[in-house]
């Protein structure tokens, strides 16, 4: 099954991005595909490479980057939401790109399921 993922909350304050990551990783392990993850609202804050969490904690943006590199997941950050929050191409971690909301709608149209993570 092709699964699209929408993440609406930022890292660390909310569990949404963590749960989405575990869901995506498990789905891929089970033989599903996750062609794209879309980051919206404060979810765009997951994409920064400038975060330096303590070494004994998970690195939320980096583990998405790793999953993207290993499984070809397209990490798309909403441009309008990103501009409001100071997320630009300069601060993106590897594997992320900034694009429009049309990419979110496309996931709904083209994939088997769209799964939302957030409040």
């Amino acid at each position: 099954m092709q699964l699209g993922i929408l993440i609406n909350e930022g890292p660390y304050t909310h569990q949404a991005s963590d749960t989405a990551f575990l869901f995506a990783r498990t789905a891929i392990e089970k033989g599903h595909t996750v062609p794209r993850v879309f980051f919206y609202h404060d979810g765009v804050n997951n994409s920064t490479r400038l975060a330096t969490p303590p070494q004994d904690d998970r690195n939320v943006s980096a583990r998405w980057s790793k999953l993207a590199a290993e499984h070809g997941v397209d990490l798309v950050v909403c441009v309008a939401a990103a501009q409001r929050r100071g997320i630009t191409d300069d601060v993106l971690a590897p594997g992320y790109r900034i694009s429009g909301l049309g990419q979110l709608v496309e996931m709904g149209i083209q994939y088997d399921r769209l799964v939302t993570f957030g409040d």
Partner: protein
């Protein structure tokens, strides 16, 4: 906004998208940014429904004035929705009752649904996005 122009993903597929608005218009950004997704979805010629439930019913109340909190008042956008062919607007009866609201308090024409009717409508959808 160029994104608002007519769009097409090339597939010609039309799915039923429901946007579930659960939050008050101000206090958090969900209502405002949620509206942006609704408009883009309509630009893709998809079958769009909007549901207002819980504090989300406050998004539609008349007489919103945001001067005091110095944020943008986007309530006029709801009245412009029919210009984007978004005409399926539903509100949850219990959420209205709990807040002392009636249809006369709202800025747009809506269909008021019971919880059971709402459940049936949700079951018909391909995609439900909750903000």
């Amino acid at each position: 906004m160029s994104e608002m122009d007519e769009m097409d993903d090339g597939s010609g597929i039309v799915k039923k998208f429901m946007f579930l608005n659960r939050k008050a218009p101000h206090g958090t950004v969900y209502a405002l940014e949620g509206l942006e997704v609704v408009l883009i979805t309509a630009a893709f010629d998809q079958d769009v429904s909007m549901v207002f439930t819980d504090d989300g019913v406050y998004q539609l109340v008349k007489g919103v004035d945001t001067k005091g909190i110095e944020v943008k008042d986007f309530s006029k956008t709801y009245r412009a929705l029919d210009g984007y062919d978004i005409e399926k607007l539903y509100v949850d009866q219990k959420s209205m009752d709990a807040r002392g609201l009636t249809e006369e308090d709202l800025i747009v024409d809506v269909t008021v649904l019971s919880a059971g009717e709402m459940a049936n409508l949700m079951a018909e959808q391909d995609i439900v996005i909750s903000f």
